[in-house]
Symmetry: C2
Amino acid sequence: MLAEVMTVGDELLTGNTVDSNSAFIAKKLTERGYWVRRITTVGDDVEEIKKAINEVLGRRPEVLVISGGLGPTHDDVTMLAVAEALGRRLVLCNECLEKIKAFYERLYREGYIDDPALNEGRRKMAYLPEGAKPLENSEGAAPGAYIEHNGVKIFVLPGMPREMKAMLEREVLPRLGERKFVQLKFLAEITDESKLAPILKEALEHFNVRIHSSPKGFGKYIGVIIFAESEEGAEKAARFLEERGISLERWKL
Amino acid sequence: MLAEVMTVGDELLTGNTVDSNSAFIAKKLTERGYWVRRITTVGDDVEEIKKAINEVLGRRPEVLVISGGLGPTHDDVTMLAVAEALGRRLVLCNECLEKIKAFYERLYREGYIDDPALNEGRRKMAYLPEGAKPLENSEGAAPGAYIEHNGVKIFVLPGMPREMKAMLEREVLPRLGERKFVQLKFLAEITDESKLAPILKEALEHFNVRIHSSPKGFGKYIGVIIFAESEEGAEKAARFLEERGISLERWKL
């Protein structure tokens, strides 16, 4: 169950914004049992986004989640790039246009904007790749899109974290099945790191888990994260590690 | 002056760690006048890292900065992957080995570790791709590497932020020339976003600057960042925007 994440935005490439979206998306996908193989960040550039999407599709993941570049400004070009990458036209989603209209009318009534009219930029957000299902944006104007293309489930989400998170929870995760993974985190005290690898390998052969390890401090502690379909499953693997001589304590981040 | 950034680590792909390293590196490269075109994040997997490096090299940037996966544990495989991607052998850097030895002896004297001996994992860090210049790690054990390969400057840095930042400042940036870019940030109050694009385009034709814009709030404010070689150059472009009717105020992040 391979997945990939793509974030779009010049502000990420200039380092003006730390990309916390990709970590959020990756965490949720991991909890659902997906293995996120790669995260790609590109700018607000149609050709770059297209190239990156085609490269992802060539790696044939089950799921691709894209975030960013759906807004009303001239540099929000992600939907166009997705459509072109998939060889589809952009078509007007009437239902989306109605919702966008209602959204700006509400902002106008509430005094946030001076003009509720659907100018070019606002209308643009109602165009989705042909065949896409619109994803409802409960927190903002731009709808997302869900497209199945050559066996890859593609989700296109806004970049504003509040909008992205709500859409991911409500519109994306329910389409990815019921399976859930839990993560148990431990600190292992260990004086020789080279002892850990064969024991982890043995645990992976015995249990239906994934295990990540990473050094903390100067080689005395190793962070160990066990992913399993249940807390009991993860705990069984943890007890196995302890039986093999690795002293674990629960690690609260 | 195109650049790319690559970060390596399973903890980034599971969402357990937010990748702030790539933003830091991208910001520093942008300040030096580089255009970061893409950020790629891969796991601690030799084949994946190799594939991603070869893809970057195919895009022929001037600079590639890689961060993460240089430590002593079994899943720190970045140097091996870099060497294999470039068709080079890993060779022992004697000078590095001496520094690693001294580093662990100091940790031992200061009571951080129980054993200062150079076991397999610690020795591994002294191996660099053939032809690489070692980069000094003032904050930790693992040296970085600087490799010129087919016209691409490749820098390989540790993933621990404190180590990465120090190495970037002291060992990488001095090798990237003296040119510096400043960024001035503004908030533009604007009621119709579609008016902004042609004015920005005009400014780009008149001045030696880069301009990024991104919506803040619901389309009433646009964040505008002007990159130029001097503060005066950026201010000239800002005054030009104001003359064209865009009301700007300085924006402190």
